[in-house]
């Protein structure tokens, strides 16, 4: 089967689940994932990898616990941000957003360390698009 371009807006239209990333393509041993998000995710940290975010639609807030203290960054549509490995972070999107992430295949959405996973968050390493 030919490898074809994927329109992200069409890919986003194939699912409704929140905080439940779909893998749109792979780059070596990395996934490119997209997700619809609304409300709050949870505090978590990835000990062994950075995590890249690009906001496709809406606005994403990421709270960060850094050595200097806690702060919040706000990503408007079209903004990018990389959370460094080991940094506890909590994404949220009070008004909803669609995001793209780049991270090693197998990276769990809830990280290696996390608080209790609420029912509305999918603890996953990503789902196949269309699955």
């Amino acid at each position: 089967m030919h490898n074809e371009p994927i329109a992200l807006n069409q890919a986003l239209a194939t699912f409704d689940a929140l905080w439940s990333p779909r893998i749109v393509t792979r780059v070596n041993d990395y996934d490119v994932r997209i997700a619809k998000v609304h409300g709050e995710h949870l505090w978590h940290a990835h000990d062994d990898t950075d995590e890249f975010f690009l906001v496709l639609e809406g606005e994403l807030t990421i709270a960060l616990r850094e050595p200097e203290g806690e702060r919040t960054v706000v990503l408007q549509q079209g903004a990018v941000f990389t959370v460094p490995r080991g940094t506890e972070h909590k994404p949220s999107a009070p008004a909803g957003a669609a995001i793209l992430m780049f991270e090693p295949t197998g990276t769990p959405t809830v990280g290696d360390r996390h608080e209790a996973v609420p029912d509305h968050v999918d603890a996953t390493t990503g789902h196949a698009l269309g699955a």
Copy 2:
């Protein structure tokens, strides 16, 4: 210095050079690069890495030389595509485009094998944003 979100449209506004990627952030040992493109790049192949493209503005065409023959894929704004390692490819954008790429830090824009590099193409491993 704090790591802050970067608005891609503002980052694109800081340079005019074509086919000359700027590194907007790093994810582990990968770069996230953005480029303005117009006209034709050149046939080249990356022997050791896949290369990811996301079209931020405009339309990007990628010609591919695959075992089954040559074909062309067209990425509209908001589309993604990964060129597999080892596949000769030639990006072009007759009407101009802005693109985002993920690839390992140090990956040359002209690949490991390539035809003669035309004057309008920058053979680089990416420039720092603002440099």
